[in-house]
Symmetry: C2
C-alpha cells in the first residue's frame, strides 16, 4: 500500500450526542409526526431530506442567450435529481452533495470542473472542498489541473488521507495514488471561458489598476448543501477560481470555514469574491451566528452575505441549510444559479434575482 | 510595474464604528482613567498595549537540554521585546506581531522559518498568515521554500496583492516580485530537524498505520497576537508544518479562521495538529464564542482548544487576546513555548505545563 493512502481513515471520536436522539426520533416519527420533537432537538425534526445547490453568483443576463439559459436550468435540475436520488434512498447527506456537484462539474456552463475559467497564465486551476457535518470530517484540494471531478478528490483526501487540505502537485500525486479519475488538461478548455480571459487581459492592459473590479464579476462556483433522513448535514463547493487570477492564488471554496462548512446544526456553501469570503470566514460565521447567537438561519446568512461582505467591498452569494430543513439563498449580484429539492422530489430552480423560487413548505425555526 | 503588484493595495471600506470612540477615549484617558469607558466600549479600555506569543505546543522536556531551554527562553524574550518596542512607539498591532514573529522565524529552535521541520520528501515547506483586526485585511502563504521570513511574505500578499492566499510556485513568484528576502533552501536545513525526519521515517517503516500518531507530537508553530495603543488587534502565525508531512499538505497556520484570526474584538494564533484545527475552524470559533455567545475569552479558548479539539482526537494549544487586554494561553500538551509582555515592557515566558507564567494585572471582562 502506498504511504499516501491510509487505513483506517481518519477516525472521528466526536460523535454528536444528538445522534442517539435522532435514531429514536426517526423510529417515533411515524407515530407522532415531525415538528413536535423538533423544537427540543436540533436534528429530530429532520426526517424530511433537503438538497440546495448553487451554480455560481456571477451570472448576468447579458451572459446567456435563451438556449444557454435553458441548458443551465436543465443542468441544475439534473444535479438536484442526482442528489435527491441519494437522499431518497436513505444515503448520507455527503453522498447527495457529491452526486449533485459531480453533475455541475461535468456541465460546461458552470465555473467548476469542465467549465472552469482560465488563470492569467491560460491554465485551469481547480479547487474543491467537502465537509461532513455529522463527523466534522473534511477534505479540500486547491490548484489541481488534471482531476476531472475535484469534489471527488476532496472526498478522497477526507476519506483516504490523514490530511484535510492538499494543494498543487502534491494533490495531483495523491489523486493518482487514490484512483481519482484524471483527464488531459485540454478537457477543461471551453471556448467561452477562453474568450473571457482574452477580454480580461485586454481590460487589464487598458486600465490596470481597475482590472480586479472589472473581472470580479466573472467569478463563479458550484456548491451543494444537504440534509439526510438521519438529520445529518453536509456541504461541498467546487470552483475553477477567478478569470485572470494569478498562478497560486487560492480562493474561499477550498477553505474550510470560508467557502465551505458543515456541522450538526448548519451547512453552507459560498459563491463570491473569494478574498472577502476568506476574510469574513463567511461559511463558519453564518453557522456561528445560528449556534452561538441564536439567530434564525436566514437572518444569519443575510447578515454575512448581504450586509457584512458588501460593506467590506465584496459581493456574491451563498446557500445555507439547517438541521430543521430551513434554507437560505442570499446573494447580491444580478443572478445566482440556484435551486432546491425536497422530499417530494420536485426540483425548483432559478437564475436571476427576479426569478420566482418557491419556498419549502415545512421549514421551522 | 509588474502585474502581480497592485496600487493602491486592497482598500478596506470596513471602518469599525468604535474607532472614533477610541480616539476620543484615548484623549480623555488622562482625565478619567481607563476602565470607566471600557465597560461600555470594547476598544476604549485598550490604552495598555499587550503582546502574547507562542513558539509551538509540540515541545517536550525530553527534547531540550539545559542550554537549549535557556536559548529558547532567551529567544522568546527577544521576540517579546521586539514586538513591545513597536507597541510602545505607538505602532499598530500588526507591526508588533510581525516583529515578534520575525525573531521567532530567525531562531533555529522553533518550527518556523530557519528551524522548519522536514517534509516526507526531505524539503522544508513554509506556511504563514497574518490578519489585521481593525481592517479585517489578511494575507497568507503556503508551501514556499526560499522565503526567509514567511510572515513578511504573508504581509506582502495582504498589502501588495489583490489576493489573500497564495501557494507554492505562484507564491514564490510573488515573493520575488514584491521584493521579499529570499534564501537558498539550504538555509532551512538544521541538523536536529533532519534527524527528526529520519526518526519519523524509521517509525513509519516499522509500523505504518500508527505513524501519524507517533509523529504528531513533532508539530510546532510560532505565532503572536497584539493589542496596540489605539485598541486594535492583530494576529499572525508561521510554521514549517509537520515532520514527515506529505508534499502539498496545508495545515491550519495559513488558513484564516483556523490557525490565524483577528477582528475588532479578538485575536487568536493556534499551534496544534492542523487537521483538527481546520475542521474546528478553531481561531474563528474562539472569537465567535466571545462575540456571539458572550463567553469570556478564556472560557471560549478553553472550550475550543482543551475540550472540543481533544474530543475530536486532536491536540495542541493557542494564544488569544481580546480588545480589553484579557489573554488566554490554553494547551493540552506537555509544553508550549509561550510568553507575554504588557505596557511595563517586562517579558514573561514559560515552556512546560508546570512553569509559572504570571497573569497580567488589569485584565477585565
Amino acid at each position: 500500500m502506498h504511504p499516501l493512502l491510509q487505513l483506517p481513515p481518519f477516525i472521528n471520536q466526536r460523535m454528536d450526542n444528538s445522534m442517539n436522539s435522532v435514531l429514536l426520533a426517526g423510529a417515533m416519527a411515524g407515530l407522532i409526526g415531525s415538528g413536535v420533537l423538533g423544537a427540543a432537538e436540533p436534528n429530530a425534526a429532520a426526517a424530511k431530506p433537503m438538497l440546495v445547490i448553487h451554480g455560481g453568483a456571477g451570472v448576468e443576463r447579458a451572459d446567456l442567450n435563451a438556449d444557454e439559459e435553458k441548458a443551465a436550468r436543465a443542468a441544475l435540475e439534473q444535479a438536484l435529481r442526482a442528489g435527491h436520488a441519494q437522499l431518497s434512498a436513505g444515503k448520507p447527506a455527503l453522498e447527495a452533495v457529491t452526486a449533485a456537484i459531480v453533475v455541475l462539474e461535468d456541465a460546461p456552463m458552470f465555473n467548476a470542473g469542465r467549465g472552469a475559467v482560465f488563470t492569467h497564465d491560460g491554465k485551469n486551476e481547480l479547487d474543491a472542498a467537502v465537509m461532513d457535518g455529522a463527523s466534522l470530517r473534511a477534505g479540500a484540494v486547491a490548484g489541481v489541473h488534471t482531476v476531472k471531478n475535484p469534489i471527488a478528490l476532496a472526498r478522497a483526501v477526507m476519506e483516504k488521507s490523514k490530511h484535510v487540505m492538499m494543494v498543487g502537485a502534491g494533490a495531483e500525486a495523491f489523486a493518482k495514488e487514490s484512483g481519482t479519475t484524471l483527464v488531459d488538461p485540454s478537457y477543461f478548455r471551453t471556448e467561452k471561458r477562453w474568450q473571457q480571459l482574452q477580454k480580461a487581459l485586454k481590460e487589464e492592459a487598458a486600465k490596470q489598476a481597475h482590472s480586479d473590479i472589472e473581472t470580479a464579476k466573472h467569478f463563479g462556483t458550484v456548491g451543494a448543501v444537504a440534509l439526510d433522513k438521519q438529520g445529518h448535514l453536509a456541504a461541498g463547493t467546487s470552483t475553477g477560481g477567478m478569470t485572470n487570477k494569478r498562478y497560486g492564488r487560492v480562493g474561499d471554496a477550498p477553505i474550510i470555514g470560508a467557502g465551505t462548512y458543515a456541522n450538526a446544526h448548519c451547512a453552507v456553501s459560498g459563491t463570491g469574491w473569494g478574498e472577502y469570503y476568506i476574510r469574513a470566514v463567511a461559511a463558519h460565521d453564518i453557522c456561528a451566528r445560528v449556534q452561538y447567537g441564536g439567530q434564525p438561519l436566514r437572518e444569519a446568512a443575510e447578515g454575512v452575505i448581504n450586509r457584512d461582505i458588501p460593506k467590506a467591498g465584496g459581493d456574491g452569494g451563498a446557500i445555507a441549510l439547517d438541521a430543521k430543513g430551513n434554507i437560505a439563498l442570499p446573494f447580491n449580484t444580478e443572478g445566482m444559479y440556484r435551486g432546491w429539492i425536497g422530499a417530494d422530489g420536485v426540483p425548483h430552480v432559478a437564475i436571476y434575482k427576479d426569478d420566482k423560487l418557491p419556498e419549502p413548505a415545512a421549514a421551522v425555526n
